[in-house]
Amino acid sequence: MNTANHSSTPQRPSDAELEERIVAWVLGEASAFEIETLKAAVAARPELAAFKRRIEAVHGLVAEAARPDTEPLRLSAERRAELLAVIGSASAVAGGADPGQPAAFPNPSTTAKPSAVRLPRQPERPWWRNEWFYSAAACVVISIGGFWMLSTVSPKHPQRPDPDASYACSIPSDVQCEKAEEELPEPMNTVGYSEITTVIKPSPPSAASVRWSVPQAPRATGIAPKPSAMVSFVDLERKKEASSGTALASLPKREVEVARVRGFAGTADDGETGVMEPFEVKEESKVGYTATSTLAGSRINTQLRDIGSAISVVSGGFMKDVGATDSDSLLEYSTNSEAAGVSGNYAGKGSGRASDSFLSKRKAARSGSALGGRGGAPAPAVPSVGVEEDEIVVLSPFEVADSSSSGFLKSNRTPKRPKRPDPSATMYGQGQATLDSDQPLTSTESTSSTPSTQSTSSAPAADKPLPRPAQKPAAQPPATDEVSAAQQPVSTFSLHVSDASFKLALAALNSGRLPEPSAIRPEEFYNAFDYGDPAPAAGEPVSCRVEQAAHPFAQQRNLVRIAVRVPATGRGAGTPLHLTVLLDTSGSMERPDRRAAVRAALQTLVGLLGPADRLTLVGFARQPRLLAEAFDGNHANQALDLLDRTPAEGGTNLEEALKLGAELAGRHFSPTAQNRIVLLTDGAANLGNADPERLAAAVESLRSRRIAFDACGVGLEGVEDEMLEALTRKGDGRYYVLDSPEAADASFARQLAGAFRPAAENVKLQVRFNPARVGRYRLVGFEKHRLREEDFRNDAVDAAEISSEEAAVAVYEIEALPQGAGELGEVFVRFRDAGTKEMVERSWTLPFEPRAAAFDRAAPSLQLAGTAASLAEKLRGGPAGDRVDLETLAPVVNALRARRPDDKRLQDLATLFEQMRRMKK
């Protein structure tokens, strides 16, 4: 058959045949000619190569499994004796194998035979994981529930809820509901509601918010269950029999197919039923909960013309002109608002800032005579909002234009958003600068009277982020677009994990600002959480988990989460740590909260040191000053005392500090130790060379001398995030953010300690997509860490570190072609094991899932990652952010928070979400 096949099919053989021949090749069955042909095929198609590798691996394993044990292991003597005492006596079963057979292979000739009593069964599983049990239980519940519903609903007393109205079930349903969580078609917040009839008095709309809560945390939203009214199946049966006749007639046309609802309970008193309108989603627009055209309307669908208040609509050009940078300053110019307290909008209270700057701008514009000659001035890049005093402000011309897409009285919303925001516009996505008209600007009075004429315009800016006051032109958020797998099937990047961007964004939102989009790094959002990924098995250097679900917002895309985890390694007792700490003692660090945070951080640091470690402390402001050199771990506390005696002074000269730090670290460098420099600063470098790229080059040279560099940003406001991020990217080290003394706590210590014993160095991830199965894909985040394909195996190209027991996560959006062939691709991880110093590479398959779960039914870890990534994209702006709908994420966030109420990070995520919701309104 081998050769016959070939001669009869000169055309390309099908993939299945190819695979079969490859298997034959691996098994040693292929002829030499065939081998040559197959080699060519494998070289041409990487997925075949991957297949062959897999088969070879399995082949090796099976061969080894078949091999008899040369040195069989034995239980220890006493265990053996114990065991044999028990089982030796039970050797009464008929038949017996020849004990002389090779022990290592399950010999088919001695297979157990199914006896009459044994059920054909899969490998033993505990009864509570058996699917049949669930299906049977589900059928029983549905039928009982159905009968009971028909029989017990009665209109006797609308107020009193029926105790039978509790759907809570007895013990079996605990597990049952847990299972139902996986299998039931719809969660509670979709149209599946049409099938539920509630018979409970309190808060009807909350039926909409019942959750499929995990048994231990049912309380995120929804009705609080009252344990006293838990009714067992037995009671339900009884009631059903008792009142079967009456209620049937009273429910002529209502749907009473009941889903299992957990957590409902009525009160346990006198058994009367309150009947409520069934929560159905009906077509009619005037009846039911979702009525859309009653007088009162519904909350979802009130026409603007029905709202009895004046509406001010603001366009982008207007905002730019008045220099409004937050809602307060904007509202001062709109009707129907009192943004500045009871004295009125122009009393100078409230934010005041914008009006000041606006007035000052107007002054400047007037004093500079260019106002009249504005027509002659070239249209430069539109000035940023926070301008200096003597700059000419060019405002968009106050024209009453008919054109519906420009000017102050726009009546047409501009639907098209430029893919890349105009770099000259400070407002993201606006690009509305219309500077081509030569109508001169009129005086202040007329400009400030424009608000009253605004009311008919549309509202294009309502959902755009307000720009943050910037001292320099705001950087553009890097746009990442989708890549076609046919053209670029390989995606490679350095697996740099940090959570700094998340913390900074949270701090910004908490203080009422929107974070700067260029500072948002999505990978630092979704890497800020612990997903509970399994650690590698004993002995394995790395483990990987892949999860997939449908993307919540993008059409026909799947969201894939790849998590890579390294095991816990003890702090190598043989590896001392030579630590050089560069501490910013400039005036900006004098703030009491910063000093306290720094002290706490240093205390933590020092606590991690042992007698073999060395600490060198450098304080720097205008000049670096060596405070303590090479103190060993036991005396490091004295170094801290020296710190307290150092005054805070002057500006911040990072460049000099780095130089001195490098010199000192070099002086105390030891090839057998871990050598690190830790920089503690707020990063506001204003002396010396503060160019991030140059400083980054200094850090890179440190790396080449095998000195790692960590940066710890102190304080959350005014931290030079971009600079610090750039510095750590080039080095071997991490970027942390420390906001308060409390933050320098156990988890910070763990982070530091973990960083001080990296488990994996130079970690790179490469995903090879299968173009036959993947159309387009996009890596969410890691923009600054992309590598070229050939850099993956080039160990001179540096990449990130992962510390002991840590996990790193990458999220992709992938278009999986249903008509394609094969899996999605393969994931490769390559790193240097910090213990053995050898390069390790592993790979896993990205499977193709034809029926990936919907996002709201996906695994919680995937939901968490997807939510974090979506929020980051939303904060960043751009097309990926625009399609994120916060309301869709609300139930997911609630459910996540309810699962682990004591996880601080999850609470932070929920807080971030709430803040975003408020700001976007």
């Binding site: 897999r54 114990e82 194998a97 399950p106 297979t111 035979k113 199914p114 490998p123 098995a537």
Partner: protein, 168 residues
């Protein structure tokens, strides 16, 4: 096919070593592994009447017990698991290999008897397709086809069990 059930004691003789290796590969520590294997046999003894495929059952039980143990005691790793003489791979790799081999045995034990026979003939007696075909009454092409599917499903089973890897 043969339809004899070995006695528990006989099973013990046969599978003790393989199971121990598997357990060591999973748990990392010899003492823990011994406990797991002992426990597995005791449980089998208790449920002997209900178990249809005791070999597979043993491997699976050892696996579940080991995973439970790992979950409850996440950090214990023996510093230097003993090596079989002549085996000079680094300790980490060896453990991983043991686990993989054990999982393969588990999967093999769960295969239907006909498939197991094919594997046995191919790997244990190392016959070529033709010879296998003659012994089983199948055509050589059919043998190739079946082995192909067998290996593929083993690979999938391994992947599902979380064992994967490529050497570059």
């Amino acid at each position: 096919m043969d339809s004899e059930t070995p006695s528990l004691a006989a099973l013990f003789e046969e599978e003790e070593s393989g199971l121990l290796r598997f357990a060591v590969g999973l748990a990392g520590r010899r003492s823990v592994a011994e406990e797991l294997v002992q426990e597995a046999f005791l449980r089998l003894h208790r449920s002997w009447a209900e178990v249809e495929n005791p070999r597979a059952w043993l491997y699976r039980t050892v696996r579940n017990l080991a995973l439970n143990h790992l979950r409850d005691h996440p950090r214990e790793t023996e510093l230097d698991p003993e090596a079989a003489p002549g085996d000079d791979r680094p300790a980490a790799e060896r453990l991983g290999r043991d686990e993989a081999v054990g999982t393969v045995r588990l999967l093999l034990a769960e295969l239907p008897a006909a498939d197991r026979r094919l594997i046995h003939l191919k790997y244990h007696e190392e016959l070529q397709y033709q010879e296998i075909g003659r012994r089983t009454g199948l055509s050589a092409g059919n043998v190739g086809f079946r082995l192909h599917h067998l290996l593929k499903s083993l690979a999938d089973g391994l992947r599902r069990a979380g064992i994967e890897g490529s050497e570059g």
